[in-house]
Symmetry: C2
Subunit: 242 residues, 2 copies
């Protein structure tokens, strides 16, 4: 039964099995210091050849999650770590506070003056926007790509800051225009080829695609951003209010 899912997929068996073993390690089934079932036992569990298991183990060895030792077994060497460091905020107040702690590194990719292409379901567009693409990273790990539009006159008022600093804290600190409300939409997708290259994950890996729109008091769009986060970097935590 477990094997059916493996065999029906075209991805090589050893890659799939490596993922299964990785999930067991990351999910706490096996902890640092534990010894995995023997290669023979894993062969039987997954109904595959030993060489397939060994290739899967080798991948995890290269990632320093496992250390196979002849005569002894395969030991888990993975260091437990917080793999969900970033919380996606679900209230405006929290969004304002989002970067009060650890500030990510910012790498700007490109910029121009243009407007969001899609049709808004609500609010109205200003005449022109500043468009910027950037990457955020922490501890050298890139975790999201942002494509954002800032209303042009707002941008020009603080041009230097917008280019160097995080944009949301700036927007929220402005007295004019005042951010009256915000919307955020999210879907889960497979990583596209371009983003995969930019943030060093694989095509098809899980990502969150988030759209954030900030409106002023006249319901004009002040900020419109499409953010792609690597899926393993974020979590959402919602208090479902009555």
């Amino acid at each position: 039964m477990l094997n059916a899912a493996l065999k029906k997929n075209k991805v090589p068996l050893y890659l799939q099995i490596a993922e299964v073993l990785r999930q067991r390690i990351n999910g706490g089934v096996w902890s640092q210091g534990d010894t995995l079932p023997s290669l023979n036992a894993l062969m039987e569990e997954f109904s595959v050849s030993k060489v397939t298991i060994r290739q899967a183990v080798k991948l995890l060895q290269e990632d320093e999650l496992l250390a196979p030792q002849r005569g002894r077994g395969t030991v888990v060497t993975a260091v437990p770590k917080n793999r969900r460091p970033l919380r996606v905020e679900t209230t405006l107040a929290d969004l304002i506070e989002m970067y009060s702690g650890d500030v990510p590194d910012v790498l700007n990719l490109s910029e121009d003056f243009s407007s969001p292409a899609d049709h808004l379901t609500e609010g109205r567009l200003a005449e022109e926007y500043f468009h910027m693409r950037r990457i955020h990273s922490r501890n050298g790990e890139r975790y999201c790509v942002i494509s954002m539009y800032i209303e042009k006159s707002v941008f020009l008022d603080s041009e230097e800051r917008f280019r160097k600093e995080l944009v949301l804290p700036i927007l929220f600190s402005l007295s004019t225009p005042k951010i009256a409300r915000a919307r955020q939409k999210m879907i889960i997708a497979k990583c596209n080829i371009e983003t995969a290259g930019l943030i060093n994950i694989s095509i098809g890996d899980p990502v969150a695609e988030i759209r954030r729109v900030l409106y002023d008091e006249n319901d004009t769009v002040i900020y419109h951003a499409d953010v792609i986060y690597r899926g393993d970097y974020i979590r959402l935590d919602m208090d479902l209010r009555p």
Copy 2:
């Protein structure tokens, strides 16, 4: 540059390219009736051999997204469809209304009397729970696996209904106990081997792992569920209240 992401991944090139082409079709870059760039053009774009492109195209042909035609080109045959039918609710009021429309089919997998295993960060556990695992589907398509715990005495009061119907609407219709509040947490993960088998997606495909906890007025956990949704079935839409 585009090719670097392909080449550094161990998944076969034709599978990766199929995914890229699939995303372009699903993302609206190519619509039904459009003709793709020629195989030679795609070969050049991705810097791969023609046979690799042809294998990618063949996969999409089998999925009825593409129809290659000799002398003419490769035409998009994909039927546009709503690929995000289910909205994950982010307020309690919406959660109550969640199933007022189209009701999913329910397949029960297993049941027993046991308690949630993990340590709660808040609230308190009752003495015993009814545990049930089930699958939801719509139009024959399985889209989530649920592992839920219902407080035992609550369950026993409406045992028949809980086994047959959707659980949340029942819980919300109860006068005793009253649901006082709820929390919902979500992470994005790669599909595990078991769930992949249950809902017919691939190991490693994007999924949402959602935990929902409902509390009564005494902050006792009445309902505790871990739900794994296929990532392409859901969307979140958050009005960020000030």
